[in-house]
């Protein structure tokens, strides 16, 4: 039995509502008073909206499934899940490494990796990509640091 995507989304929303409720109890301690609803108001409104809509979405998914039990079309094509996971891990790795080794060291490698990750079936030459990666890094560094006076990650190793 494969439930509809709406049901899964609804159940995920319901689970998050329970977690959020626990977080409200732990993180906001100031109660409401007679004059003012207090800081718990908005978290509770968010909770109610997410809870109700998740519940309705889960029910809708179940109703749709009863009418037509054929599973939903997969969101990603074959191999897409792996590709999106790989791309995301690459983004996380870039973020973490930038914090350690600085923008100037990590950016050329990241651009090189991103180009290869996003190229699909297009053909690219490694030397051309490497040159582009270095030039883009240097250009961005010059533009932001000297042009716009924006600081870039210095890396804890060099800080």
């Amino acid at each position: 039995m494969r439930v509809k995507r709406d049901t899964i989304t609804g159940l995920a929303g319901l689970t998050w509502s329970v977690i959020w409720l626990i977080l409200i109890q732990m993180q906001t301690t100031q109660p409401a008073n007679l004059l003012e609803p207090g800081p718990r108001l908005l978290p509770y409104i968010g909770l109610i909206v997410v809870f109700l809509s998740s519940l309705m979405l889960a029910i809708k998914g179940l109703r749709d499934w009863k009418k037509d039990p054929t599973p939903d079309e997969p969101y990603f094509p074959e191999g897409g899940k792996l590709k999106v996971a790989r791309s995301y891990l690459m983004l996380v790795a870039t973020g973490v490494l930038m914090g350690i080794f600085s923008f100037l060291i990590v950016a050329p490698f990241s651009i090189f990796a991103f180009i290869y990750d996003l190229k699909g079936n297009s053909e690219v030459k490694p030397l051309q990509v490497a040159i582009i990666a270095v030039l883009v890094t240097a250009g961005l560094y010059a533009m932001f640091v000297y042009g716009f006076q924006v600081k870039l990650p210095a890396g804890i190793l060099f800080n």
């Binding site: 906001t28 809509s53 914090g99 923008f103 690219v124």
Partner: protein, 499 residues
């Protein structure tokens, strides 16, 4: 009038004009390439403006916005894929015209219609915004709460997909908006002892994570980054004659009014109304069968409508401080970054900056028209830029933007976390615009509500006894109930017809 003229002269200073020109060109590239957008352009540009003056920042941001919105028809005409959802109807006749070898005319119509829509809607916005802002000063927190609530509900219920998905996304936006200090007594919520969280989640980090990063890796994994090869016939002359304007004047006027109204209402989405304008053009035209096979009237309707919505969106942003869409939400965030508060008081406390915003949009519209008219034979080259190179550079700029918010790595991690959230939302079919709008309006919503209750000594009655507040709340209720009600009525009609 004097302030407006001096703002106009400021925009026409050579350096400012050069910046407008550069940003308009960049905006056209962002608008033309499907998958990129003016929203993404502004998100990437926002961190650059941190070190610049407020005036310069807005000149840059507004120019990229105008260029981006206007440029979305280019891919619709040349490859049959709209640069954004607001140009869907442009594909119907624009691409067939390209296939027939009339791309020059199709592009010329697109350029002119975009210009007319933006130019006149901005003039109207300039006239109407101060009047609405003056009226808004007479309103209290009850009306403001109802307005913010109305904006969120409209976006949530009218966004694409199921109403519950829109509401769920809005709820998540409210939850994200709770992080940090509460707007009334400064109580810290959901900060988990992390000082970086006490000022809440950065709007820029949110935009970069949810729009730039998520969109690129998702589209790449779904195989949506590949586009057909663009080709266009190049020919001399602009491509349209004065006669063409007068022949389509009724369609242009109707589409302009629709666009202006849709831009004014938060969350109405230009995509659907683009079709409404197209539908009107088709139904009132003598040769209905030529629509879909390359009738330029279809492009007049679609492009005038989506660009007129731009001026419409400026009105609530400037007069009320309420964003109508993702782009105006970011412009409001840009004002906040520069220590300013959008809203009715903004027009009276910062009249020079307010007029600069209107003047800059006007100048950017003219520059966009000139740039597009001169370079229209080169548009095909924009669509031939290798995506993997472009997207890789955008991803790296997103890291720079994330870091630049507070010069800490923390916002980069926030950006990555929100990218993951946005990815899960896409898989679940949840729209992102209700989340963004609810997030931006959450502190205002809470602030106005709690202030209203305090002023009424704990009573909720004024929300329902003040006419405007009541009208807006009734509209909210109607928006939530209407989809289910219309479905029920349809079913009833079907059953009755079967009997």
């Amino acid at each position: 009038m004097g302030l407006y003229l001096s703002a106009l002269l400021l925009c026409l200073k050579p350096l400012n004009l050069l910046m407008i020109f550069a940003m308009v060109c960049l905006g056209i590239v962002f608008g033309a390439i499907p998958g990129l957008s003016a929203t993404l352009g502004i998100a990437l540009l926002l961190p650059v403006t941190f070190g610049l003056s407020t005036e310069t920042s807005f000149i840059l941001l507004l120019a990229i916005w105008i260029g981006g919105v206007s440029g979305s028809f280019i891919s619709a005409v040349l490859i049959g894929i709209p640069g954004s959802s607001s140009s869907i109807a442009t594909c119907f006749d624009g691409y067939p015209m390209t296939l027939k070898g009339e791309s020059n005319k199709a592009l010329a119509v697109g350029i002119t219609a975009s210009f007319l829509g933006t130019f006149f809607s901005v003039i109207l916005a300039t006239i109407l915004s101060p009047i609405i802002a003056d009226f808004a000063l007479t309103l209290g927190p009850w009306e403001y709460f109802s307005l913010c609530f109305c904006a969120i509900t409209l976006v949530a219920t009218l966004s694409k997909g199921n109403i519950w998905k829109g509401l769920m996304a809005a709820g998540l936006g409210l939850m994200l908006g709770c992080i940090g200090m509460d707007p009334i007594n400064g109580t810290q919520r959901f900060v988990f002892g992390n000082p970086n969280l006490s000022s809440g989640i950065s709007t820029v980090a949110q935009m970069l994570g949810m729009f730039a990063m998520c969109q690129i890796i998702r589209d790449s994994a779904r195989g949506e980054a590949k586009m057909p090869e663009a080709s266009a016939s190049s020919c001399k002359g602009f491509g349209i004659r004065i006669k063409d304007y007068f022949e389509n004047i009724r369609v242009i006027l109707f589409s302009f009014i629709v666009g202006l109204w849709i831009g004014f209402l938060p969350g109405m989405g230009s995509g659907i109304w683009n079709m409404v304008a197209y539908g009107y053009a088709k139904s009132t035209n003598k040769s209905k069968t030529s629509f879909g096979e390359g009738n330029p009237t279809g492009i007049w309707a679609s492009e005038t409508e989506n660009n007129a919505s731009l001026g419409g969106a400026l009105i609530p942003m400037m007069a009320l401080g309420i964003p109508g869409d993702g782009i105006t939400a970011m412009l409001i965030a840009a004002l906040t970054i520069h220590g300013l508060q959008a809203g009715p008081l903004f027009m009276s406390s910062q009249p020079d900056l307010a007029m600069l915003i209107f003047a800059c949009v006007l100048v950017a519209a003219v520059v966009t028209f000139i740039v597009q008219a001169i370079t229209k034979n080169w548009f095909v080259y924009i669509l031939r830029i290798p995506y993997h190179f472009l997207y890789s550079v955008i991803l790296i700029i997103a890291y720079i933007g994330g870091y630049g918010i507070s010069n800490t790595m923390f916002n980069i991690y926030v950006m990555l976390a929100l990218c993951l959230l946005s990815l899960f939302m896409s898989i679940g079919g949840l729209p992102t615009s209700p989340l963004v709008l609810a997030f931006i309006l959450s502190s205002k919503l809470e602030g106005y509500f709690r202030r209203a209750i305090s002023m009424d000594k704990g009573s909720y009655a004024s929300f329902f006894t003040r006419p405007l507040s009541l009208a807006l709340l009734v509209l909210d209720a109607f928006c939530v109930v209407w989809p289910s009600l219309s479905e029920y009525l349809k079913k009833r009609r079907k059953i009755a017809a079967n009997k």
